[in-house]
Symmetry: C2
Subunit: 333 residues, 2 copies
DNA sequence: GAAGCTCTTGTAAGCCCTTACAACCTGTTA
DNA sequence: TAACAGGTTGTAAGGGCTTACAAGAGCTTC
């Protein structure tokens, strides 16, 4: 069943059928109705490939993220997919993994599908990255389609960034801990990504401002896995800290669990703040205080920009969203 | 840059270029090398739309699931996407939501993209469903492309199912609890889906077999949200149970948390078993015993079947995988 | 030296749409 | 009544690829 048969059955030309498909104002209402009825009766759907060829677009957006099994990215993907679909676009998903080379391949590969735009989630790039040239592939991609980064920042033609102001968020989280009298605040992170570095800077700024020296031994990196955190704490016979600021809820949840086992009272002996406000946070006992990095908000911003951009309108190339601390039970009141 | 230009530059016909693109054995190695070099030099990529038109396939698989933000489905999507990609296929994702009408629309919509196969995750359909006709759209879809169900069962031409044997898994989970002397086992579920019903049947069978009467007041349904569980427990001044079997880890985690708050010793006073062995389970304290429903295994099976099917080979239309109980700290040894 | 074979290449039709341009119809206007 | 405008429809030329079929090139064989 193709456009010719429909045209035949409706007694019109294929041009008219095509116009009906595209709801062109050039067709009279009467004809439209007739053609539509024939299409429905034969439940005809235009061939998207042919359509793609003609329009040079299949109304598809590429979504690249390191790992959808991560709750943060999953929420982003869910949000983006829904909204974009409602706007008439489908999403091709590509879980790249975290390695830079794999990310590069991901973008290159997905571009071959002739997507209309590319969204990269959790990219954590930055211009001031010491290895800045490793994000060059993003700029390459931007030559072909508009590129939207969620939580990554790269300056460039046709590149649009929506970021959580991690620096500020970390600053205020650390300040909160300082305000409640904590002086030995452990900074726990799982990566040296741009956003992790921003968090660290914010943390250090808050300490400095409060006149508290930044102690190298209180800045620790480990894998975001519960057993890594367990091992970490096992190796530290006595944890010389009265608070923890973790760059991921998973890390914070681990600290909470194993510190409690060790007999620490939370938050009295040890206050804890996580990051991302994931589903984990409310499952913890006591509930974990966490910085909400506002994925949904970031996604909305990206979607709005994307719509504007696809309509050829100008778009801000950088938007920051303030992260906000959700106070639960692992911090003082 | 199109196939004509490449042909021109390489001094061959477009047919030859096309054959090189498709790595046809009809082309001499010498010519292949030459054409390939020209393609690389101009970094040419064949237009997928035109290719799709010609081959009637864009090497794309449709992935429909109610909600990727759910850890179980996210793991499935991640696994499927990776393996299918390695096999040369990309995935179009569609998060349908749970409503039946929305699922129907999801499948109908995604089919229009002329995908080569459809994978439906967490469908929880069944032939013996009282509302069996509501899954008719799956059979409709199967007329167009092979359909693979993960954790759903519908008999039909071109429909292939991979399921966790929830009945058995639940049976053995309940048996485990009975073996350790529990007699008042609460069955806690968040849905009346096919697989939830299977779990309930398994649970009841175990009780009956042990000569323990099934108490209606110990079968409870509630939303899979931590606060729903909290409210549920609040409404039950004294929980007359010595064990809980929950159909989702989220529910189990909630019970664990609020039962502990109430002073119950776990597992001494209350043993708990969850389901799906999600990331939550190990974050709980004590770590949650949980039935591993083996998403990864199910995905592998689907992928293997899918490959066979796409090559026109015969495939089992139903494969069961045994769920297995992961014993952690919320059950006795 | 002609026939026949295999290997390789080219020609052209086809896949199913979109859309520029031409043409037609109807109703006004001068 | 002719010219014209506006609204509607049709014709035909793409768009970039695949592939059936034809054909040429280089061998071998008798």
């Amino acid at each position: 069943m193709n456009i010719y048969e429909i045209a035949e059955l409706a007694g019109v030309s294929i041009a008219t059928v095509s116009r009906v498909i595209n709801d062109s104002p050039l067709v009279s209402e009467k004809t439209k109705l007739r053609v539509r009825r024939v299409m429905e009766e034969n439940d005809y759907t235009p061939n998207v490939f042919a359509r793609g060829l003609g329009l040079n677009s299949m109304k598809t957006i590429g979504l690249v993220c390191p790992d959808v099994a991560d709750n943060y990215m999953a929420r982003a993907v869910a949000c983006l997919e829904r909204d974009l679909r409602e706007y008439g676009y489908n999403c091709i998903l590509y879980c790249s993994g975290y390695a830079w080379e794999d990310r590069r391949i991901a973008v290159r590969t997905i571009l071959q599908k002739r997507i209309d735009a590319l969204v990269v989630i959790g990219s954590s790039y930055a211009d001031d990255d010491p290895d800045a040239e490793r994000v060059e592939y993003i700029r390459e991609a931007a030559k072909q389609v508009p590129v939207f980064l969620i939580n990554g920042y790269i300056r460039g033609e046709n590149i649009f960034c929506a970021l959580c102001s991690d620096y500020e968020a970390a600053y205020s989280a650390a300040s909160e801990l300082l305000r409640s009298g904590r002086r030995k605040i452990l900074f726990l992170s799982d990566s040296h990504s741009y956003s992790a570095n921003q968090k660290r800077s914010g943390y250090e700024a808050a300490l400095r401002e409060a006149g508290v020296p930044v102690r190298e031994d209180l800045v620790i990196y480990t894998r975001n896995r519960i057993d890594s955190v367990r091992d970490l704490l096992l190796e530290m016979p006595q944890l010389d800290a009265d608070a923890v600021f973790a760059t991921e809820d998973g890390l914070a949840a681990g600290v909470l669990k194993y510190a409690k086992r060790r007999g620490a009272a939370v938050p009295k002996d040890l206050a804890i703040i996580g990051y991302n406000n994931s589903e984990l946070a409310v499952c913890c006992d006591p509930e974990l205080s966490s910085v909400d990095s506002r994925v949904d908000r970031l996604c909305k911003i990206v979607i709005d920009s994307l719509k504007l951009r696809l309509n050829g309108k100008p778009v801000n190339d950088r938007v920051y969203v303030k992260g906000c601390l959700i106070r639960r039970m692992t911090t003082d009141f």
